[in-house]
């Protein structure tokens, strides 16, 4: 409240000022009552930001209560979650952003009874189911892997790995929302898409099973390649990442084994390259973690969780993320993580974030993926976070 100096001087003005002050003080002491809030308000999400992240969580102590949690990496806000059934692995985001697919398992009485497997389709703006597709009740129950389920490159077919212990892949038409079929993949595991109508699985002898599909999702060719790596001497982990026309796999011994996709859909072994120097190998530096690699296509960079430990520690989390330029196969950065890291993921945009989680922690850490600077941490995220997925 402002008053002219001259008005303040007159007695009438003083009275007005006093009355106003009294009114103001009275109003401050007893504010008007708050209006009633409407019932049934539900938040609708804005369009997805490239800096959002899904934290998949199989909730190990209570596996019937699988979850996926959505967070905004730019401000640490918890945006919402999905409830995703028993032994949950991962969401698969439709390429056009209009649906979220989730292969799920349910028992009619929670932890017993009749098993039903479905692919639930969720509306990503409302985080609510809009439909489901029943699939054979065979989806593999394992430590969550990205290779448990993937879309073909054009987003037309959803591929789901089965293990009963017989191995096969369920194919779902993601366009018509119908089951397309099941492909036998005996002796081979998981799914790694290579094109609009192709993927491979990794076989126990170190070869790959190259599968091509027709427009109905049926297999037109299933071909075993030559062996890509020596399973007995230095096996690769299942936790490969795709960059352009290659999949990059890392071995227990910290060697990268690229798998190159040829123009006619063939698969060739790329030149292997080490993540460590001989001195570092002697110090037992090796990759570890559950989701141990991440890749940024635009920057052509590979990120790897590293730690020092013996050969049996190939799943251990690490407090270092080392960054490599994929053109030169050279390490360009070493990021000291704030907390032990077991899962990493980067966003796909030109100013990417790096997310880090760990299965025994409920803290999600956010870094600048280019500078390595820690930006923020979000507490209380899930129970046993596993795989990180960015749109």
């Amino acid at each position: 409240m402002t008053m002219k100096a001259s008005a303040f001087a007159r007695p009438g003005s003083i009275a007005v000022a006093l009355l106003l002050a009294l009114g103001y003080l009275t109003a401050w002491a007893v504010p008007p009552p708050l209006p009633a809030d409407p019932l049934g308000t539900v938040v609708s999400l804005p369009p997805a930001s490239p800096h959002w992240v899904w934290v998949n969580d199989f909730v190990f102590p209570h596996m019937a209560d699988g979850q996926a949690l959505l967070l905004d990496g730019d401000n640490g806000h918890f945006l919402g979650m999905l409830s995703t059934g028993y032994g949950f692995s991962r969401l698969v985001l439709a390429k056009d952003g209009k649906l979220v697919f989730s292969p799920e398992t349910y028992f009619s009485r929670g932890t017993r009874g009749t098993r039903t497997d479905v692919v639930t389709m969720y509306d990503p703006t409302r985080l609510a189911p809009v439909g489901e597709i029943t699939i054979p009740p065979k989806r593999s129950s394992n430590m969550p892997m990205m290779g448990d389920a993937e879309l073909t490159d054009d987003g037309r077919f959803l591929l789901i790995y089965n293990f009963t212990p017989a191995q096969s892949v369920t194919v779902v038409d993601a366009q018509s929302h119908k089951l397309a079929g099941e492909i036998e993949t005996a002796g081979c595991a998981l799914v790694y898409p290579t094109g609009p109508r192709s993927f491979f699985s990794i076989c126990a002898d170190g070869s790959l099973l190259n599968v091509h599909l027709d427009n109905s999702g049926r297999a037109t060719a299933r071909v075993r390649t030559a062996r890509m790596f020596d399973v007995a001497k230095d096996p690769v982990t299942e936790k490969g990442v795709r960059i352009g026309d290659a999949w990059q796999f890392v071995s227990y011994g910290a060697v990268m084994y690229p798998v190159e996709i040829t123009k006619d859909g063939g698969l060739l072994p790329g030149t292997t390259w080490p993540l460590v120097t001989p001195a570092e190998r002697a110090e037992q530096w090796r990759p570890g973690g559950l989701q141990q690699l991440a890749a940024h296509t635009g920057l052509n960079r590979l990120y790897a969780i590293m730690h020092r430990g013996g050969p049996e520690t190939h799943k251990d989390p690490g407090k270092d993320v080392w960054v490599y330029d994929l053109a030169r196969h050279a390490r360009i950065q070493q990021i000291a993580m704030k907390n032990p890291s077991g899962s990493i993921q980067v966003t796909r945009d030109p100013q990417p974030l790096l997310f880090s989680a760990c299965i025994e922690s409920t803290t999600l850490d956010v870094y600048d993926a280019t500078t390595g600077a820690w930006l923020r941490s979000v507490q209380n995220v899930g129970t046993t976070p596993t795989l990180l997925i960015t749109p």
């Binding site: 596996m63 932890t111 017993r112 009740p137 699985s201 126990a204 013996g310 049996e312 046993t384």
Partner: protein
């Protein structure tokens, strides 16, 4: 159940690092069946062995737990990865009441220092209820990725049981034969 190694091993190791050793063990001490609190830590390998062995009693030799069935260091547990059924109402060979023993399983060999023999040990899971949650124990010798299932501890082997497709509860460690 042989697919918990990353959770189990890093879980207890990191908790031991973050909390005082007494606090960590004290909070779960109630679950022990008359054994020293030190035994709850999974046997770690390589560079992490120091964590699990660091709690040796002052002035005394590290106790030999290889004959204690409730210990992770029990000789049969050389390749176990899950909750010990002995802490869950069952035993090293028998499932807790109301659960079902899965015939499809992972099999390894362990050395018994008491008689100097190697034994074939079968880690049949007990299935049909939610996870037991007691005595989580993981040992990771010769584990292979999912694409080599015979020796992969990352599968839920309860999925292979005929009455199931049912949830994992705990793990037994059955002797099958002398390995020769």
């Amino acid at each position: 159940m042989r697919w918990l190694d990353s959770f189990a091993e890093s879980s207890t190791r990191t908790m031991a690092n973050r909390t005082s050793r007494r606090g960590f063990l004290g909070s779960i001490g109630a679950f022990l069946i008359g054994t020293s609190a030190q035994l709850l830590l999974p046997v770690a390998r390589g560079a992490h062995a120091a964590d699990s062995q660091g709690a040796a009693k002052p002035g005394g030799a590290k106790p030999d737990n290889s004959q204690d069935p409730t210990s992770c260091e029990y000789w049969r547990h050389c390749a176990i990865d899950g909750y010990l059924c002995g802490c869950c109402g069952g035993s090293q060979t028998a499932c807790p009441p109301g659960t079902e023993q899965s015939a499809v399983t992972w099999v390894g060999t362990c050395h018994n220092p008491a008689d100097g023999r190697d034994y074939v040990v079968s880690y049949n899971d007990c299935c049909g209820k939610s996870t037991c949650g007691r005595c989580l124990c993981n040992r990771n010798e010769r584990d292979t990725p999912l694409y080599a299932p015979f020796e992969s501890n990352d599968y839920n082997w309860c999925s292979g049981s005929s009455k199931a497709n049912i949830p994992y509860h705990c793990s037994t460690a059955r002797i099958v034969a002398v390995a020769k």
